[in-house]
């Protein structure tokens, strides 16, 4: 009897407890904390100097190149090696607690081995808080090519953390102007995106303008005044072979490629004033895409090769327009000031970047194509020629520093800036090359 009662009681207690539990979970289900904003700073990452076995080539260390790459993106804040508590080169030596103490999110460790005339890198990337390896790879390159190997590692690290392919192995094309010898010297150059390993591809005493990469990264189109007037050339980088593709009366300028590499958009004024044409590179036939008494120039395909962004002063001053398909009625994109020119859309179709005049200064701005919101990205004042990295995360442009034209890289949202090492004379007209797999 007693037993029974107690049983019932205990059952009741159990039921009550269960009821409370239900109540509690239903309350808990209501507690939902929403995080809608992230940290407003770059991600702390540690690139530990790689251990080395065998003879390594002189010059910059692989890890310092990777560090510089990540810092340049503006998305990462590499920890200086002298602040590290240990310098592990493999997983068993990585003490996550130490790295967490240093506020680090990711740690890259690795080792370099000399293997004949090649250098091999074995490296691993760890997520400090999750205590997990998120990347592990072995890669090799000729010893003379340690920079390529380093940029490859940077690309992999960047992608593992951000989910976006890195663009550190891509190339830049730009034009330098050297006036030191009396005669101006224009030089078309191609370099790594950190400005290193620059090579002159063309030299002229007449202006060279507007280099544009073919989608396969093998050719450049550009404007050269070598014959006394502007003409468009295509330059094969491997062979050095050049072809003059457009030499009509008047302007031949502002070449950009279609994503299949089969045609160029260009500005010609052969019929009286500056209009946008498309040239089929096989047949060299040109088709007129705009027809207006105003200046239409600086055309670039959108991310799908459907529509065309361009500059036109049909409303008075130069503004950015978008033509949904060739021949369609252009729609004006920019309204924020009376001068907006030279549009460059990113590869995802999210933003268009351009030169924007405000309060007497020429700046770089972008417009979000989804909501037409305009953001000014730079704070210098003679900025021009914006070019977006192929992964859409970085932007290079030309600006003035103590009277000289220099190139500056910023993150595409206007964050951290990185100036490319100065060279002799002016550096301008940067064009960011494609990712070549």
């Amino acid at each position: 009897m007693i037993q029974r009662i107690s049983f019932t009681l205990s059952k009741m207690v159990f039921a009550a407890a269960a009821l409370m539990l239900v109540a509690a979970t239903s309350v808990q289900a209501e507690l939902l904390i929403r995080i809608t904003e992230g940290a407003d700073s770059a991600i702390p990452v540690s690139v530990v100097p790689f251990s080395e076995s065998g003879n390594m080539p002189a010059g910059d260390k692989l890890s310092s190149i990777v560090q510089a790459d990540l810092a340049m993106s503006g998305e990462f804040r590499p920890l200086p090696p002298e602040k590290m508590l240990s310098l592990p080169s493999k997983r068993s030596d990585v003490y996550f607690r130490d790295w967490r103490l240093l506020g680090q999110r990711y740690v890259l460790v690795g080792e370099l081995t000399r293997n004949g005339d090649r250098v091999q890198a074995r490296y691993e990337l760890f997520d400090v808080n999750r205590e997990e390896r998120i990347l592990g790879e072995t890669a090799a390159a000729p010893a003379s090519n340690i920079r390529s190997l380093a940029h490859h590692v940077s690309d992999k690290v960047y992608e593992a953390i951000t989910g976006v392919p890195g663009a550190f192995s891509t190339k830049l094309a730009y034009v330098t102007l050297d006036r030191t010898s009396g005669q101006p010297r224009y030089r078309l150059q191609v370099s790594d995106i950190d400005g290193k390993r620059a090579r002159v591809r063309l030299e002229s005493k007449e202006p060279i303008l507007s280099p544009a990469w073919s989608p396969d990264g093998k050719k450049l189109a550009y404007v050269s005044f070598e014959s006394g007037k502007p003409a468009i050339f295509i330059h094969e980088l491997n062979s050095g072979q050049r072809t003059k593709v457009a030499d009509f009366p008047g302007l031949n300028s502002a070449p950009t490629w279609s994503s299949d590499g089969q045609s160029l958009l260009m500005t010609l004024s052969k019929d009286g004033n500056a209009e946008i044409y498309q040239m089929n590179l096989q047949s060299r036939k040109v088709t007129k895409l705009t027809n207006h008494w105003a200046i239409d120039t600086e055309a670039a395909w959108d991310s799908n090769d459907d529509g065309i962004f361009f500059t036109s002063d049909r409303s008075g001053g130069p503004q950015i327009y978008y033509m949904a398909k060739p021949g369609a009625e252009p729609r004006r994109i920019t309204f924020g000031s009376r001068y907006n020119a030279r549009p460059r859309p990113d590869s995802k179709g999210d933003y268009v970047y351009y030169v924007h005049q405000r309060d007497g200064a020429f700046l770089i701005a972008r417009t979000n194509l989804k909501n037409d919101e305009e953001t000014v990205l730079t704070r210098t004042e003679s900025d021009e020629s914006p070019s977006v990295s192929p992964n859409g995360r970085m932007l290079i442009y030309a600006t003035k520093q103590s009277g000289k034209s220099v190139l500056t890289v910023i993150s595409a949202d206007g964050g951290a800036a990185y100036s490319l090492p100065a060279s002799e004379g002016d550096v301008r007209d940067p064009a960011w090359g494609p990712i070549v797999r």
Partner: protein, 98 residues
């Protein structure tokens, strides 16, 4: 006047916002839900991804943020802790991307 629970919710939200680095692939459409369990000391006892954003880098950034806090701000009052903070859900969804 904020209740005790609201006050600690706000504190946790603030700490997590500072600790979260949304990856560059993040979009405003991405949401990751994590269920977390705390000890009364504020230490993290467990975390589980209950709804993925569909983007590994994004999910990892959320997990990394949750795991980066060495101690969560929690009320010392035991009932409030048990009711609200023993176990709760955190949703990561960027509203305003940089």
């Amino acid at each position: 006047m904020l209740s005790e629970s609201q006050k600690y919710q706000a504190l946790i939200r603030e700490r997590l916002s500072q600790a979260w680095y949304p990856p560059s692939s993040a979009t405003e459409e991405m949401t990751a839900r994590l269920q977390i369990t705390l000890l009364p000391t504020g230490e993290l006892a467990g975390v589980k991804l209950v709804a993925s954003s569909g983007n590994t880098a994004f999910d990892n950034s959320a997990l990394g943020a949750v795991k980066s806090l060495s101690r969560y701000p929690v009320p010392s009052e035991r009932d409030t802790f048990e009711t609200y903070f023993r176990q709760f859900t955190i949703e990561f969804n960027p509203r305003r991307l940089r």
